[in-house]
């Protein structure tokens, strides 16, 4: 794993028409991991600070948004470019099979990566039933 070489990945533009502001949005790369108690989500949003992230859960639809800081580009004139810059947006429908506790979702940003911790509720956890003879 460690010897693997990292290659650049072209940013994917968001195709959803639901935009309220001009400009292009990009789809952040996401990992989703589930263990016994928690659903974890990581989204790459380089250039987005903690204050500029919004997470919304409504009718089982989880919406992640992140805004890049345009101030970072103030007084800079581009002379050579390999990637474009834009805000991030992505939406997931949470599976009905997994009961989650929306009040206990926690989120943090570090180094441009959003980490969401979504705790599963008790009844969704696997239960071992002993078969009596």
């Amino acid at each position: 794993m460690t010897a693997q070489e990292l290659t650049p990945k072209e940013k994917q533009e968001l195709q959803e028409p639901a935009k309220t502001r001009p400009g292009r949005y990009y789809v952040p790369d996401v990992d989703i991991y589930e263990d016994e108690n928690t659903l974890w989500l990581w989204a790459d949003m380089p250039g987005v600070s903690q204050e500029k992230v919004s997470i919304d859960l409504h009718d089982n639809i989880l919406t992640l948004r992140g805004e890049v800081l345009l101030e970072d580009y103030k007084d800079l004139t581009p002379v050579y470019t390999e990637y474009n810059v834009g805000h991030y947006s992505r939406r997931f429908t949470l599976s009905e099979d997994i009961q989650i506790d929306p009040d206990r979702i926690t989120a943090r940003m570090s180094d441009g990566v959003l980490e969401l911790q979504v705790p599963k509720v008790e009844r969704a956890k696997p239960r071992r039933i002993t078969v009596m003879s």
Binding site: Q4, E5, P22, G47, V48, L70, Y80, G112
Partner: protein, 148 residues
């Protein structure tokens, strides 16, 4: 270095103005500077800007802490290298795996009139910024016009 004037790029024009300015160069790579050494197929992707002090190089490196990134500036050459690793997890399974991890190293050629000694780098919100100022000799000098 060919200094391209991008008339119409207004940093205060919001996201659209910035995206248009970047796009113009994405579509016309020959307008800008020649990077030499390694091409765009090597991580990280780079954007080059100029400001009044010199050259500003930007790269998106999400999830890589500053202490895992090495930046070295020699005369005429910039090298960015490092390694990223996923969070260690066990006893669970992935539903989706799109983020990539691994080692990287990229070297690019720099214009001549830059002062490697005075280069600086910072990493904020997964955005790496390397600033390399121009040598004093390369900076524009204001010459006062004397009344004859």
């Amino acid at each position: 270095m060919a200094i391209v004037s991008l008339s119409g790029f207004d940093p205060f024009g919001g996201l659209l103005g910035l995206q248009d300015a970047l796009d113009r160069l994405l579509q016309n790579p020959n307008l800008g500077i020649n990077l030499g050494l390694s091409g765009a197929s090597v991580f990280p992707a780079l954007n080059f800007f100029i400001d009044e002090d010199g050259v500003v190089v930007r790269a998106e490196v999400p999830g890589i802490p500053a202490d895992k990134i090495n930046v070295s500036v020699e005369p005429r050459r910039l090298t960015i290298s490092g390694e990223s690793a996923p969070a260690q997890r066990d006893k669970g399974s992935y539903h989706r795996r799109e983020r990539r991890f691994g080692q990287f190293s990229r070297s690019v050629q720099l214009p001549e009139e830059l002062d490697a000694e005075k280069a600086s780098a910072e990493c904020k919100n997964g955005l790496l910024t390397v600033r390399i100022p121009k040598t004093p000799a390369a900076k524009p000098r204001k010459i006062s016009v004397q009344r004859a």
